[in-house]
């Protein structure tokens, strides 16, 4: 599957995506997200600080998943430069920031990925990498990745939409499940996901269609039992994430006729306690060109930060802490049901 951009789709435009969400909301009489926050006294939504610097080092990926909110694919060329990574490292040195969360695309495909991890490691910060697993088997260039991760005590967070081949391959591409399992076995071999090793391997579940993720702990039990029984695979925790109605998942919702009902479901299952813990409150998101956003989803919708600081080169904690978080209808994706964030359920 090519990216929306390569296909010349209108949905490649963030403005068009936002227009569609707004049009459906208006036609179905759905309240604005900020109105929902007003009802519970949480508007404007303010940051609680910046604990996590989430850096999207590019849209280049060896996979092209049907639900990808980044529209990442092998045909995407955007990658973060070494200079911008250096600027991220300057911000990362701030004592308040505890964690660097590296995402993409396939972040490992950025030519300066290893250098970035090594430099961040010297700062003594916790480092997370959103690894799509199959990259580990994508050729000689990437073969030593598990050992590299282990050397720098990188926490690996990997998407595996389901513990069976059919649903995983339908979402992420033919053959992805088998290669993902092989990669997990490789990671297990060097200690990742094995109790007592200190090497953390977390998996990310997201639904294979237009429905919400169910209880995270039940899903985690199912994943652990099935992966261990059939493939001998172990991991630490499962994060259940809701599919965000933007980009390629929005394309699926439109083409399958599910958009109206999906958006209605997100709104009707709005959970105030999830709203209090949304990831944008303690995370700063950096785009491949150094632009700043409240979260990775706002980044993909081109909704830059409000206020004067809009580039990582101008990082200023006090100014960033005073901002109001930008909100649109897609934000319902993080507050539906048990809530959803890069670290899993919220409530």
């Amino acid at each position: 599957m090519k990216s929306l951009l390569a296909r010349g789709s209108e949905l490649a435009s963030p403005k068009e995506q936002l227009r569609i969400l707004s049009e459906v909301s208006s036609r179905k009489g759905l309240p604005l997200f900020e109105e929902k926050l007003q009802e519970i006294g949480s508007f404007p939504l303010r940051p609680t600080g910046i604990d996590i610097l989430q850096v999207n080092v590019g849209k280049l990926c060896n996979q092209s998943c049907k639900h990808c909110h980044v529209d990442a694919a092998p045909d995407r060329k955007e990658v973060m430069s070494k200079e911008t990574m250096q600027e991220c490292l300057v911000a990362l040195a701030s004592p308040n920031i505890t964690t660097l969360d590296i995402t993409g695309g396939a972040p490992e495909m950025n030519p300066n990925f290893k250098w970035f991890v090594e430099e961040a490691s010297k700062l003594g910060k916790k480092i997370l990498v959103r690894c799509n697993l199959t990259i580990v088997l994508a050729g000689e260039k990437y073969r030593g990745l598990p050992e590299f991760f282990a050397k720098h005590r990188v926490e690996v967070i990997s998407s595996l939409p389901y513990f069976q081949k059919r649903r995983t391959d339908a979402q992420r591409g033919e053959g992805v499940f088998d290669r993902s399992v092989q990669a997990l076995q490789k990671l297990n071999e060097i200690g990742y996901g094995i109790p007592g090793s200190g090497l953390i391997l977390n998996l990310v579940y997201n639904p294979g269609g237009a429905f919400l993720p169910g209880g995270q702990s039940t899903l985690e039990s199912d994943f652990k039992r099935e992966l261990k029984q059939h493939f001998g695979v172990e991991f630490n925790s499962l994060f259940a994430l809701t599919n965000m109605p933007i980009s390629r998942f929005l394309e699926f919702l439109l083409e399958s006729g599910n958009l109206d009902s999906y958006l209605e479901k997100l709104v009707t299952t709005f959970n105030p306690s999830a709203a209090a813990g949304v990831m944008c409150r303690n995370t700063l998101s950096v785009g491949w060109d150094g632009s700043l956003y409240d979260c990775d989803f706002n980044q993909m919708l081109d909704m830059q930060l409000e206020g004067e600081v809009t580039k990582i080169s101008d990082f200023n904690q006090a100014s960033l802490d005073a901002r109001a978080i930008r909100l649109e209808q897609h934000c319902y994706g993080c507050t539906a049901g048990a809530g959803s964030s890069c670290g899993g359920s919220l409530a």
């Binding site: 069976q164 059919r166 649903r167 579940y205 639904p207 269609g209 429905f211 919400l212 993720p213 169910g214 209880g215 039940t218 899903l219 199912d222 209605e264 009707t268």
Partner: protein
């Protein structure tokens, strides 16, 4: 036939909660009971959802089939689990018919020489 001339509308599923409009006390009792029945207990919520899906097919309730197909997927059930649950319902339904054939058998024997 236009949608307005049918008894079942997918949109009506969302209005289930409105059945208390004219008799709120009884509706509340029902929904409280309903909520308790489907909570995790000796059976998990997922197992209960699969049972509900089987029963939905037996009673042929389109609203219930819609709701519990979605619910079982949300609870992480596999397609194989969904269909096995449906077959359990179908087997009981078919068996319930066939077991009555014992009566027919008895009658045949009663009437025969």
């Amino acid at each position: 036939m236009s949608q307005n001339n049918t008894y079942y509308h997918p949109e009506d599923l969302k209005k289930f909660g409105n059945i208390g409009e004219f008799q709120p006390d009884l509706a509340k009792k029902f929904f409280d009971y309903y909520g308790s029945v489907f909570a995790d207990g000796a059976l998990s919520a997922k197992e209960k959802s699969l049972i509900a899906l089987a029963v939905a097919h037996v009673v042929q309730c389109p609203y219930c089939i819609d709701a519990y197909t979605t619910d079982t997927l949300e609870k992480g059930a596999t397609e194989e689990q969904l269909w096995e649950a449906i077959h359990v319902g179908a087997a009981i339904r078919g068996g319930a018919s066939l077991v009555h054939s014992v009566q027919a058998l008895n009658k045949v024997k009663e009437l025969g020489i």
